[in-house]
Symmetry: D2
Subunit: 397 residues, 4 copies
């Protein structure tokens, strides 16, 4: 499936910009850390804004390009080719998800106060849902509470994997507001400015060898009698689970297209390395059947995965996210596994170089291992899909 | 990807006909052999003709429906759900391939004498290319010769896997007509009526436990000073390889969609069995995580494989088979492997029943093992694809 | 692990006999059916008796070699190299299992009447446990009953996959004798001569394309008010399940070593074919990296599987089957999967020849698919092993 | 295969020491880096010395336990359970390999000057073989040269993946001493004290997100007219390749047993986590079929891998490393792949926790990815094994 014609020049501009301006930053990012390129990143973000390519899925009123879900899928694929791509275009998780949430469900005040500076890239944010004591795959099994006292919520709880909490201006917290309600109506999503007393960033969790810095972190947070006005709640009380679902559906398309972008970059690196690396004078890795087999299998797998994602995007556009929920679950586990296999082969073709930080492969190998875990582990998605499918078949009577 | 709207009622009629009239014949076919249902099959074929669904990819002048490549892909998928489907609609390999060849490249006389009765279902045919002494994956490595003597070719050679030779009225033989020519211009395709002296069907090769009968066979044939008029050659002298390539490209789409059809039937059987089989009172296989996992993985794999095939079909339609040759190679190995995995899981869910001939699963398990071998083994397609891909990358200078 | 020194000359004699006298019968067996070599098989069995290699695991008093479990493991491996091996040495399933059962638990009369002619190869037998209506993986979920009336059991039930029932002199039937007993004490094993009124062999179930003939069949049987004396019961009433377990444990070793034997033969065939098959003049399949990779992986997998089986055998010998029950379960699924992979690769290396019946590969491919199903499907063994392992770990307190 | 009886109490002491004294250091090691536990490690090493468990494979004259290859295999397995195990017992790569090399092939002076302080744990060392410009899989394809000038070698070259170079007292360098010699006789191994002028540690290569510190590094080194006395050569001139082979053979056993130790620890962590983690109140991960399946498969795979390694060790002990070279190659790729699968499953069972550094799983996941690359990538070992196997079969005549 090819991108719509009107999108092609845009995609090409983005691809060229990445190649010329962003790829060259990767080596320092990978070997010296994000703090070493802070100024460069800021400069690139300014350039993107000037080029009119900023925060693509948001409407122009918030400074974006106003791309549809399907259009942004192709942009996300291109951006995925660099670990810095989405950040430079201000559409990185979790900020973009928070922006879309506030855009669709925020009050006027919330939009002014939180969405606008976020969309402008002036502040950052985080999304605080996962708890260490509970399986993330069961979102109704949660301990954090927001108890209402007059016009205030008093929040208590313990969260982790709150990505990018370090340096964020606010968190959107998932907390139980009515423990007696129906299981899917217990929680609400509430904005908590990070300078609120009782919001305590305990640490950046060390993940795959590193606690990270700033945006590139996963925070462990304690909420200790943390008080925010009730007007900080997004949407209705009890709507937290529904909003989270809504976020994950279309968001999955962009996540998966980002993974496809990673696959494409890894594929290029694999082919280029194979053509360059000599096993003996005049005889490159590219002449080896085993390497050729990996290249062909990777190509077929990436193509199939990409078609599956785009087909799900079409279905969402046509029939809505609910009708496409099986497709949304299937791309989660399917693409995450293709991603892992392609990265693994690309590393193997690189030999020792593949485990160094001189290519982005080792970065993705480490950090995208979580792709099979976050937003519900593969296994949970498989069970959910199968049970829905089985319900379509007639029972023995 | 959904079928075009105008095709849907046709697909539905075909599906209903299969379910009502063809599925019930399968058990006898599988357990007592094709000879036990000869009359039933003839009756069904007559019904299909009456319904106007006969030989779908052929134009109306030859009694067909005139479906395009892309349209027939969806029909082939439906027909694939039964091991008898294509035969009942007179679009079974190798006949349909021979018909398309004669339609596009046959002389007027050849069309009258061979294509018309074939399209009418009055005779059968076979395609005689593979040789036991040479790897089928290397089509320019071939021993059968057709030496010209005046207006006659004298053919000598040894072929096997000439599917459905038993009972065929004629064979189309691939033979070297000019051993000195460029390697891809050595061979020609020549029609040999099976009653020609020197055409000797040595035996039906026993394959997966059975030599078969009639249409359901693979013949081993000796050509011994077998003389046919030069006018029996299809197309130009030396065009044999090019014609074979042309046959395999679009033909692959239909083959692969047939495999998808098999996958869909196996998937249904798997789900139905899971819902029916009790492990203990009130507890069916469908409640087991392992079975659910297989169902979800199969669903995702079948969907991905199907999209890959349809995408290749679109590309052939749009840019021609040559431009899509990588896609045509990739679906070969990709879909054949999905097919094998899905069949394997479906059998495992059926337990002992899965290895009996009371479902079509064991039949497909046996006979579609060859899917990874015929028309070039998976491995050859992978190498070919990879080498083409690698040529697109810049070499080190 | 090497076989004990004293066993080596025996193993070598067996291997030579197989190569010289049994392999040459395979082609007719595979392409014309077992009935075509009946006399040859009888002659070979007589030779084996004369050579003193008859029914190896039975003690000399019953005409056997008196080999221990561990010793017979190596013999079973060698015999497994031919689909006819075990039969020619009169240690084929299910007869050998029945012999061991009668030897250890039969009454004096049962031994005289059933074991002796069986051990002599004068009659055949079958084992009637699996029922079509119940999952074989749950042996306490069974409908066949044996109701006592005085000194008689009246048996009613429906069995299938009663291997080799066609032509057997007697069946050993698993039937519920006390439906009120503890679930593992409900059933008993009872000898039923096949000429008993009420024993009805309904059909030989068609399996993988063929209903078979004589020994090479799987019978579907109805027991209809079938009366046998109570003295036909083997062991105590209610001991049926325990005896079945006892049979499966050590029997698994021999089964698995037979599979290893199949792997070894397939491996040889793969290597020989690779060295022989030319892709182009002077360039054999053996020069291809992909084929080399399969050879190395197969070698490592077969070695690992074999060590796992022999290690389990040592553990049974040392600590008994109960202590080794995890090992016995693990070799079931582990070796069955290695077997399938090795056969699959060997077939692929053979190309078209691999799916014909001109090698034993296609026979094994079809009939050993059931290896992952019978005696409890892989999945059940995995769950059982895991639960036992998990019980060894301390629970959270 | 069980360890020899006399070894059991020793293994138990080591296991207990690790559990009590070393496991507790892991968290700081993983989250704050090796530098945070330097003193603790020194204290533990002193304890190990006092307990008489120091540098186990070295003979008592060098302060070791004098364990045989086979005995040390079991010790290495236990030590592998902690990423700190081998270091605390002073048998960590590359030091232990250097010690064995010097012990067997060092001159008296080399032993005094280099082996003794190394064995005592007073200094560290490194092994400098891999070059960035050449595939490590082809050890005769190497650019570093040692040109003889009188009694001096002048070394020039560029190496990387010189593990633990940072802080090492000396390197053993592989350099071409005679470019005209037979390809396996070109190189020699030469001791280069790291304070020699011309030895330049360019950087610690960033690997999987970190350049490391001290022992836990991979150095990139330039040798620039680096002069050492000829007496620093180990063994004969031209013996470099042979000595490297000798090092890799038995060393592989210990490497692989270390990997088995990692597998065992990961397996324990997986089971413990499964029993502890609740999906919903009262329902742990351990009750899930998918998790149980992983546990059973992991158990079978680890057992099989371990038997394969121990069997290779027995074969080396009995017939020498040359006779066992296929086994030595096979355990390389076989065990490395089991390791990766087991780690992957253990991480998945841990969910988010699995990618944090609060267990050693993420450390191993990152750093043992190289297990399939270093000492020759899997693919090269497979090809080598297959070619040797194929040579044993008769060629077509």
């Amino acid at each position: 499936m090819e991108p719509p014609d009107h999108l092609r020049p845009i995609l090409q501009r983005i691809a060229e910009f990445l190649r010329a301006e962003v790829y060259p930053l990767e080596r320092a990012f990978l070997t010296e850390g994000p703090e070493s390129i802070e100024e460069d990143l800021a400069a690139r973000r300014a350039q993107v804004k000037d080029m009119g390519l900023w925060v693509p899925p948001l409407p122009p009123e918030f400074g974006g390009m106003g791309l549809s879900l399907y259009e942004f899928a192709f942009v996300s694929e291109i951006l995925g080719r660099s670990p810095l791509g989405h950040y430079v275009f201000n559409c990185q998780a979790p900020d973009i998800g928070n922006m879309e949430l506030l855009w669709h469900h925020g009050s006027r005040e919330q939009k002014e106060r939180y969405l606008e500076p976020l969309a402008a890239g002036e502040i950052r944010s985080c999304f605080s849902m996962t708890e260490p004591e509970h399986a993330g795959s069961n979102p109704v099994h949660m301990s954090t509470t927001a108890v209402r006292e007059g016009d205030t919520y008093v929040i208590n709880g313990h969260k982790w994997f709150t990505t990018a909490a370090d340096g964020a201006a606010f968190a959107i917290v998932m907390a139980v507001t009515d423990p007696q309600a129906d299981r899917y109506a217990r929680a609400s999503q509430i904005i908590v400015p990070t300078d609120t007393p009782g919001f305590r960033l305990h640490c950046n969790t060390p993940v795959m060898g590193h606690a990270g810095r700033g945006f590139f972190t996963h925070g462990e947070i304690f909420y200790e009698d943390c008080r925010v006005p009730v007007s900080n709640r997004i949407g209705a009380e009890g709507a937290g689970f529904a909003l989270a679902q809504e976020r994950l559906g279309p968001g999955r398309i962009h996540h998966c297209m980002r993974w496809i972008g990673i696959c494409e970059r890894a594929f290029d690196l694999m082919c280029e390395r194979a053509l360059k690396r000599e096993l003996e004078p005049g005889k490159t890795l590219a002449t080896r059947q085993i390497v050729q087999t990996w290249i062909a299998e990777s190509r077929a797998e990436i193509n199939a995965a990409r078609l599956l994602v785009l087909d799900a995007a079409v279905k969402i556009d046509r029939n809505g996210a609910y009708a496409a929920r099986n497709e949304i679950s299937m791309i989660k586990f399917y693409v995450a596994n293709v991603l892992q296999r392609v990265l693994d082969r690309a590393i193997q073709v690189h030999g020792g170089l593949g485990v160094t930080d001189y290519t982005p492969l080792a970065h993705w190998y480490r950090h995208e291992r979580a792709a099979r875990i976050y937003d519900g582990p593969d296994e949970v998605h498989k069970l959910v899909v199968a049970r829905r499918i089985l319900r379509e078949y007639p029972r023995e009577g």
